[in-house]
Symmetry: C2
Subunit: 186 residues, 2 copies
């Protein structure tokens, strides 16, 4: 767990290379040779960092979840303790992520393509989010709706679908945010 500094650590470079390849060549077509070449090291070097392809894919999924968890945690910390606090935090984290990271999380698809078991951590993460929504929602149905819509948004981004224009997305999320902040429940 050392950070040699200078250029990003090999581990990080490898993970980003794998991610980029998954996006460009298709999630099922990332070979160790290609990843190594793209990351700017030898195959031996790659296998030094990740002894098997499975470990690499596992790390890819883990990276995304860790990013999501810390960003979400930050959003929860920043937000107020209002009516549907958790859903609002989740929605705001999602909006920030849209700006910060326009690229889809194709690495996760690559992992799933290889072995469906690699989604398990994602499922755990989602379950945890839903659990917190259940605890901290004045209007659970509305919060769940927000969760589903955000999930749908990730999914569209994953397929790089442009069926909804950015301004339309903004308006929908604005509306959702207003309703979560809540004028009245029912």
């Amino acid at each position: 767990m050392k950070i040699p500094a200078g250029r990003p650590s090999s581990r990080k470079r490898i993970l980003e290379a794998a991610e980029a390849l998954a996006r460009e060549q298709g999630p099922g077509n990332i070979s160790l040779d290609a990843v190594a070449a793209r990351a700017g090291l030898s195959k031996g070097g790659l296998l030094y960092n990740f002894p098997t392809k499975a470990k690499l894919l596992e790390a890819l999924v883990e990276m995304h979840i860790e990013r999501a968890e810390t960003a979400l945690e930050r959003s929860i910390g920043a937000g107020p303790e209002g009516r549907n606090a958790m859903a609002l935090a989740y929605l705001r984290y999602c909006r920030q992520e849209m700006i910060d990271r326009p690229e889809p999380a194709s690495g996760v698809l690559a992992a799933i393509a290889e072995n469906p078991e690699f989604i398990d951590p994602v499922r755990r993460y989602q379950k945890q989010v839903m659990e917190r929504l259940r605890e901290r929602s004045a209007d659970l149905e509305l919060s769940t709706l927000a969760f589903l819509a955000i999930e749908g948004f990730w999914s569209l981004r994953l397929m790089e679908s442009d069926c909804i224009r950015p301004d339309e997305v903004q308006r929908v999320l604005d509306r959702l945010e207003r309703e979560l902040e809540g004028v009245d429940p029912a």
Copy 2:
């Protein structure tokens, strides 16, 4: 285009075998041999029906889109010409599909894994749905929200995530349906 009857046509059996394998072994792990074996014919026979693997995956995507299109069309025909007719039809089609076809559309993932270009038909389909929503919505934001939520729902099903309980899903969709039917816009 003959229908030999007796058991389902080889084409259909092959597509279903590929689908099942994608679900079980992972979308990136369907080999022609495995598909042939599962479909109950030889590799030669498979390649007679689908001259290349790409054609098979293409057909897999096409099958899903055709199913979705006809089911959606039927739902549009059955529904009334109310306030947010298109979104309501889409939502009702989705609810019906939940019952009729509990298995996720893993075949589409298999195609994407091999070559991201295979999503193009899906994107076209989504664009077409959104276009119709734009034409036939009293409250476009709400309709778009419904579209996103449904997309999210498909996505959760694709990952076989059980983070939301079925009864919770039902309640959210009930609520969405009521709001789309509309007591008042704003």
